[in-house]
């Protein structure tokens, strides 16, 4: 730590006074009994949605493939239990808009009959990296920290760009959430094995596991599990939001910064979440696809907050029924309070990337009307990216999107630190969301205009060419005609001459 850091403390982010992680984090993990119905979404990852391979009325078994990956960046979807497909259609998306999106609805029969494992059990280290990646892809593993990037293409990318270090994210810095904490406590061996498999798949020679220092049990369990693996290092990191962000974790663990606009792989590191590692262990060792995960259910309105092992696609209302509600929540959030999305209602299914469901009371959300910015600089001090949120916001409000972009709008993580600390409750990150959408829309618009312009240009050129060709053709024809006429004339003249000659002869 340099003198600058010493004087300024950790220079970025926020430290929520009360992280609300307890008591939920300390309650033993519970397994949720099977509900009557599951709605398994087809798009649970970034990339193309999966393509259903089952029909309505068909019976499926636990772990059976129900939708296949479509394209390079995609992930297949498997049935979390046994039952009959009752519908393939649209349900409400886990998004505040309440827009519909495609899902496969399964009426469970309660038998929870397992299908065949995807692949036979083998020693993963006898497989080639490509084969390991294939198993990860087949199991539908995506980044479980919330980014939901399919894990197999990421590993392949790491291999291609010759990454040397795996960064394993055990940060889980969002208040309320403890699902990663729980995975590390109860499945530390699986996590470490997953890390080793991933090192094999990516060719990395070193792994650094960053765990926030407010999780001593997890750190102890992981230390124990990592004993004997010299290439895996468990590193406590300061509990500070957004420590779970790739860029911040990389900086803290390696001292390096990921260049703006580049991927972490460009500096030789690849970041994966601890829950993802545990899922990779199961996928590669025993051929178990990703069809359930640990979800933290927390918030003031929850009667028995804690971590729950739940099938993916369970409706939030069923999950809340399992943990019980003390009062009607004022807001439902999927994810953590800093970056999570508010849900329109409880008839929304969970997805692979969902690490937490929060049922917050009115007292916990405290929406205050915004007032004028008092230039206190709190947002500047909080921004982990070194941006000037107050300036960005002013530019956006003035409609100067290009200036906002020049000042790093693209670098904004949308982490919400700035809005969290603002005493005037200026909706900073909300403005940035809006502006990013707007910039994207404008870029699309520009692309479209350019495309149409290109088309118009091409059309103009074609017309010009055609006109030119017509003129040329006409000229050619005229020339030909002239030549013909000349020839005919000549022939006629010579003929007449001949005749004349003949006549004279």
């Amino acid at each position: 730590m340099g003198l600058r850091e010493l004087l300024n403390g950790v220079r970025w982010g926020v430290h929520p006074h009360d992280d609300h992680k307890r008591p939920a984090a300390d309650v033993p993990l519970r397994v949720m009994p099977l509900p009557e119905r599951l709605c398994v979404p087809l798009l649970q990852h970034v990339g193309a949605p999966a393509l259903p391979v089952v029909k309505v009325g068909e019976r499926v078994l636990r772990g059976q493939l129900i939708a296949a990956a479509q394209g390079n960046v995609s992930a297949p979807v498997h049935s979390p239990s046994s039952g009959v497909i009752s519908a393939i259609g649209e349900v409400t998306a886990p998004h505040p808009s309440g827009l519909p999106f495609a899902a496969i609805t399964i009426e469970l029969d309660g038998k929870d009959e397992a299908g065949e494992p995807l692949t036979p059990q083998v020693d993963p280290f006898s497989l080639t990296p490509a084969e390991v990646s294939q198993r990860i892809a087949d199991a539908g593993i995506v980044g479980l920290g919330g980014a939901t990037f399919p894990s197999a293409p990421k590993a392949q990318l790491g291999l291609k760009l010759s990454v040397h270090t795996l960064i394993i994210n055990g940060g889980e810095c969002e208040p309320y959430l403890s699902s990663d904490d729980s995975v590390m406590r109860v499945r530390a061996d699986e996590v470490i094995d997953g890390v080793r498999i991933l090192m094999h798949a990516t060719g990395a020679t070193k792994a650094l596991v960053g765990i926030e220092d407010n999780k001593p049990e997890a750190t102890a369990a992981m230390r124990k599990a990592a004993e004997g693996f010299a290439s895996i290092e468990i590193r406590p990191v300061p509990a500070r939001y957004p420590m779970g962000s790739d860029r911040q974790l990389v900086q803290v663990l390696t001292g390096k910064e990921v260049p703006s606009g580049a991927r972490t792989a460009s500096i030789g590191v690849l970041v994966n979440n601890v829950s993802t590692c545990a899922a990779i262990h199961r996928a590669v060792r025993v051929g178990e696809p990703l069809y359930r995960r640990i979800v933290t259910v927390n918030g003031g309105a929850v009667a028995q907050p804690g971590n729950v092992l739940a099938p993916i696609g369970v409706l939030i209302e069923d999950l809340l029924r399992f943990v019980g509600l003390k009062e009607t929540p004022a807001r439902l959030v999927m994810g953590g309070p800093m970056m999570g999305v508010a849900l329109p209602h409880a008839q929304v299914p969970t997805v692979k990337g969902c690490g937490g469901i929060l049922a917050l009371t009115a007292g916990e959300i405290t929406d205050t009307a915004p007032s004028a910015c008092i230039r206190c600089g709190s947002c500047v001090k909080a921004c982990p990216m070194g941006l000037l949120p107050l300036e960005l916001s002013a530019h956006i409000h003035a409609g100067e999107y290009d200036k906002a972009e020049a000042k790093g709008l693209d670098d904004c993580l949308a982490c919400g630190c700035c809005a969290y600390v603002c005493p005037s409750h200026v909706p900073l990150v909300q403005t940035f969301y809006h502006a990013k959408g707007e910039v994207w829309k404008r870029a699309q618009q520009k692309k479209r205009t350019e495309f149409t312009k290109g088309l118009a240009q091409a059309r103009k050129e074609r017309l010009e060419r055609e006109a030119r060709e017509r003129v040329e053709a006409a000229a050619r024809r005229k020339a030909e005609r002239a030549a013909q006429q000349a020839a005919a004339q000549q022939a006629a003249t010579s003929a007449s001459a001949n005749t004349a000659g003949g006549a004279s002869a």
Binding site: H17, G268, L360, I374, C376, G408, D411, A414, V429
Partner: protein, 357 residues
């Protein structure tokens, strides 16, 4: 697209807040001023109290009237506490026995011309309390340098009569401030080694001639430390400012003690402490980055020392802060934090590929 038509979904994250609202911040600042203020009342008697009350009431009234004019409901905006704080800070920087209309003019000036004409809280370029103080000093130099010796505090009613101008202040009680005294002595050609600095012996407890709330240096500094521990301000501005007063003062005094006041006197006198912890740290008129704040604080301190030493006015803090306020936009434009993953010029940092370990 205007700010109004932009849909700011209240449902967007974050779903939590630090909980510290503007009013809470302002009230905490006010709270840290209470000890120094009460001590000032004790020291200078009830005229000080009445002046304080009048100044704050005028500041609030000025704000309310402007907001009304602008067609906004003043009640919720007055609650943000910024006008209260402005009036309070102004009162602390006034001569304790100044007549009532000084408080009225100053208070009104601070919130109307000092703040609301710029567009209200957050938009003013200059610190409202300091600009009002300078306006008063320039317009009413006699009343604004009418200092009293802290002794024989009059009763509440007598004090009120003094403030209202019905009882003349006994001549024996008026005096110059320490810095003012040094200034006149130097001007008269008396060097500082042979001058008798009034009230110097009492400096440490603040029982000396001076503004209502500025003399109790230790209580103000304690309030400042409280602000630091509550993380309402950071060390950058106050430390830079005090250092930039103390260092040149110490050098000057070492070189020529007959011409330059020593650094402890500089720090303990006038508005140095109040300025460093409460005035220069004003969010609105100081830079928003840490580095910018250091530059700003250094500028405030250095200018204070220069004005005190070479300028025509004995007290430099208010002028120094205003001058630096004018530079704040430039500082903010020039000094920016480096964006993560970019160079200082804003270009994306270069990618160092390969197997470096």
């Amino acid at each position: 697209m205007s700010a109004q038509s932009m849909i700011l979904q209240t449902v967007a994250s974050p779903h939590a807040r630090a909980g510290e609202s503007v009013s809470v911040v302002m009230l905490k600042v006010v709270a840290t001023l209470v000890p120094a203020t009460v001590y000032g009342f004790w020291l200078f008697g009830s005229p000080a109290f009445w002046l304080w009350l009048i100044t704050i009431a005028s500041a609030l009234a000025g704000e309310a009237v402007c907001l009304r004019w602008a067609g906004r409901d003043p009640a919720p905006l007055l609650k943000d506490g910024s006008a209260l704080l402005t009036g309070w800070l102004l009162a602390l920087s006034l001569p304790p026995w100044a007549p009532w209309w000084i408080g009225v003019v100053g208070g009104l000036f601070a919130t109307t011309l000092g703040k609301q004409v710029f567009g209200g809280l957050g938009n003013n370029l200059f610190n409202p309390a300091m600009i009002a103080r300078i306006a008063l000093l320039v317009s009413f130099p006699v009343q604004m340098t009418y200092w009293v010796v802290p002794a024989g505090a009059p009763g509440l009613l007598d004090g009120l009569l003094i403030t209202l101008g019905h009882i003349p202040v006994p001549d024996a009680m008026s005096s110059a401030t320490l810095l003012g005294h040094a200034k006149t002595d130097l001007a008269r050609g008396v060097d500082l080694l042979h001058t008798e600095l009034p009230g110097h012996a009492f400096n440490w407890v603040g029982a000396r001639v001076g503004s209502l709330g500025e003399t109790s240096t230790w209580l103000i500094a304690a309030g400042g430390v409280a602000l630091l521990t509550m993380r309402i301000i950071t060390w950058h501005v106050p430390v830079a400012m005090l250092a930039a007063i103390a260092v040149p003062a110490a050098i000057g005094h070492a070189v020529d003690p007959a011409r330059y006041i020593d650094w402890t006197t500089h720090l303990m006198s006038g508005g140095a402490m109040l300025g460093a912890f409460f005035i220069a740290t004003d969010y609105v008129t100081s830079p928003s980055t840490r580095a910018g704040q250091v530059v700003f604080g250094l500028g405030c301190g250095l200018l204070t020392w220069v004005i005190r030493t070479y300028g025509g006015y004995p007290e430099g803090v208010a002028f120094a802060v205003l001058l630096m306020n004018a530079l704040t936009p430039a500082i903010d434009r020039l000094i920016k934090p480096r964006v993560y993953g970019r160079t200082f010029t804003g270009k994306p940092a270069s990618v160092q590929k390969g197997k470096s370990k």
